[in-house]
């Protein structure tokens, strides 16, 4: 009887959960965090198609704007306009709140596909040292569900598994991958929270401040204001870039280097770095590391950390529309230096 109920739940989940379009048809993952295995499998080898895969963080995700206003979509327009004989597909594999784990898993996924260009636009916070001891459950996306696919899992280095492959987390993600009923609660609570804001942290996930499924729903009523005490003290080391970060960054460089036949560019993503910011030492260490690792492993690297005007940032990392446009043009110039509009 229990098995019958579970079977019914799985069938219901398969019917209810929305289909996730591939990254070749959507400008970014419409569900924001979830459904990455479906999303990242969008690359198709076509005679006339060229595939550009963008691995990045919330800067490229550009959740503040419609997908078509983010720089990945603008880049796609520029690429296709300047090379009309080719059809460029820009796959925006960015994750809002990305971790080094997701970069590694994306790289593992990429090695079974045939991209022409891979652009990794990375920031120091994506490789924060505290991620070293975390398991897959720390990820903000379902990308670790890829670990339930043995061919992808085997491409990940042993050290990566030793560090992050906690049995419980891995089993949880395999279960989610194979049995949709385990994704149903997150979907249901995300749905409820977007209709009645505040219900998710109140009754389901007190530590989650994002929706596992981002759905375009009409809000009913006001937000449930959960009364929380004001935060006592900001954790100054949350984004610390340390020796663990160096190890994780090198692992990522090596994984990218293994991609055969793809043009590869690693970019230190632009930021709005205030001269007195307490994060500046972390940034400097990251930039020095990235430069040294790129030289050591012969990877094409660009330091664009100060490339865009600071006034056109919404905060320390995210662009306004002008900077989205600027960054798209800058990337386009880098990728097709001989082209003109």
């Amino acid at each position: 009887m229990v098995l019958l109920v579970f079977l019914a739940l799985n069938i219901a989940a398969a019917l209810i959960l929305p289909h996730v379009p591939g990254s070749d048809t959507a400008a970014r993952n419409p569900f924001r965090f979830r459904g990455f295995p479906e999303y990242v499998s969008g690359i198709r080898a076509g005679a006339d198609d060229s595939n550009l895969v963008l691995l990045s963080n919330s800067q490229a995700y550009a959740g503040e704007y419609r997908a078509r206003d983010g720089y990945p979509a603008l880049l796609s327009q520029l690429m296709n306009r300047s090379e009309p004989e080719k059809r460029w597909r820009v796959h925006n594999w960015s994750v809002d709140g990305i971790t080094s784990m997701e970069y590694m898993l994306m790289a593992a996924e990429l090695s079974s596909t045939v991209p022409d260009v891979v652009v990794a636009s990375i920031g120091y916070a994506d490789f924060k040292g505290r991620n070293r001891g975390e398991g897959f459950s720390h990820c903000r996306s379902d990308l670790p569900r890829l670990s339930g696919r043995p061919p992808v899992a085997m491409r990940l280095p042993r050290e990566f598994w030793r560090r992050h492959g906690k049995v419980e987390d891995t089993l949880a993600f395999v279960a989610r991958d194979r049995f949709p009923m385990f994704r149903l609660p997150e979907f249901a609570w995300s749905w409820l929270d977007q209709v009645y804001p505040g219900t998710q942290p109140l009754l389901y996930a007190p530590s989650l401040y994002f929706h596992p499924w981002e759905l375009d729903l009409k809000r009913k009523g006001g937000k449930v204001g959960i009364s929380r005490p004001p935060p006592k003290e900001d954790d100054p080391d949350y984004y610390a870039y340390d020796e663990n970060s160096t190890e994780m960054l090198e692992e990522f460089f090596l994984a990218l280097k293994d991609l055969e036949g793809a043009r590869l560019i690693v970019i230190a993503c632009p930021g709005n770095h205030h001269p007195t910011s307490r994060h500046l030492p972390h940034l400097e260490r990251f930039l020095a590391d990235a430069r040294a690792l790129a030289d050591r492993h012969d990877v094409s690297y660009l330091d664009w950390s100060d490339a865009l005007p600071r006034k056109d940032f919404r905060d320390s990392l995210h662009f306004n529309r002008k900077n989205h446009r600027r960054y798209a043009e800058r990337l386009w110039n880098e990728l097709t230096p001989d082209s003109t509009l």
């Binding site: 229990v2 109920v5 739940l9 419980e168 609570w189």
Partner: protein, 476 residues
Amino acid sequence: MLFNSFTFAVFLPAVLLLFYVSPHRWRRALLVLASYVFYCWETPVYGLLLLASTLLDYTVGRLLERTPGPVRRRVLLCCSLAGNLGMLGFFKYADFFGESMYGLGGLFGFEGTWDAYGFILPVGISFYTFQTISYSIQVYRRQVSAEHDFLTFALYVSFFPQLVAGPIERASHLLPQLKKWNPVTADDIRYGLERIITGLFMKLVIADRLAILVDLVFADPGHYPALTVWIAALCFSGQIYMDFAGYAAIAIGTARLFGVRIVENFNCPMAARSVGDFWARWHITLTSWFRDYVFTPLGGFRKGGARAAMNGALVLMLCGLWHGAEWHFVMWGSYHAGLMICYYLIRTTRRRLRSGRNKAITTGFRVLPWVLLTLWLNTISGVFFRASSMDNAWNMLKVMFGISNAAPAAVEWYAWLFLIFIGGLFAADFIRAHLNVGSWWGRVPWFVRSLGYALLAGLTVLGAVSSESPYIYFQF
């Protein structure tokens, strides 16, 4: 390994499969191996402590059997007690007593600080040391004969369903079942699965959900109005009950899948009609352990009401210390000790006044005021139990009793929602304990029962709180 984990969901069926297909003579070895894998999953080195405790009491048991002289027998028993309590004391209490002694010394002008060992407390050490001690005492008292087969004894100490958080079994009950395997019947499997499903629901859906409000309010009680703080304290009573009773249900259900019957640990404690009644319903195996091995040897009820009250109070203070090497646990135990003394005094007086008249009311709606009073007293004790420190406990109590200025805001509507949850829980316990509705659920047709539990399993999948949290009693 946690019962509410995917790892256990893989581990248990694998062990069960091997158990069912293996010949009887291999079953003990298989379960000992499985139990050590279960225990050592997170921190393998602590398996050595489990092994040490097993070896010690196995040896003491064998020697006790061969030793007729009372003095030598007493020495042997003391060896077992010293070994087990020494291990428990060293890993659990060394830092607490060290820091307390230095703190006390500071009051008299001595300077210095305790250099803490900083051990991570071995999971379940308080449970399995008590279980092995009970074996040695039972052999000493000649209530059971010493176990000759080492594997059987090792399984008695390490049997994984009840290893890390009880119920604390007695050798006289568990050992015979491990020596001669009862055939596992379809009824055993059905009952086992029902208890596992119920336990998971209690933990994942109820306890973890109540914890949301509890964690929020205990983190900063001064931020909330007094009534919200009361509701949170009440929710903690429900949380710890559902957490621990949920664990016990899974333990009992898991053991039954192997054909082993484990004793019950809870009997509707939220519906206790007095402090004494509460301790007869809550963590029954620990209470009976203290009753048999501390309270009764100290004199029990044999030496008059005052002595019984003092002994009861001492037991409860020890019980508090057993739960954790923190002052707020000591305070929790002391609070219950105070309640117990008052309870004995009132009970004795009432019995004198009532002599020759009607018996006390023990069931039906008429006990409701007493049940509510007991619940209220326990809610206050829960504050000491849940608090992260004594300061935190005082802050909670100050807001609850209006000593400090609570936040002026009105009670949030969701606090009422949690109150409804906890009210439902209380009502369920009260009906089962006092309204004599009988076991109607046991009389419904099997397919309706099965469907009910299957739906409960589905509800657990859908309604479980997202964060995986360990059982509260694992820390003891």
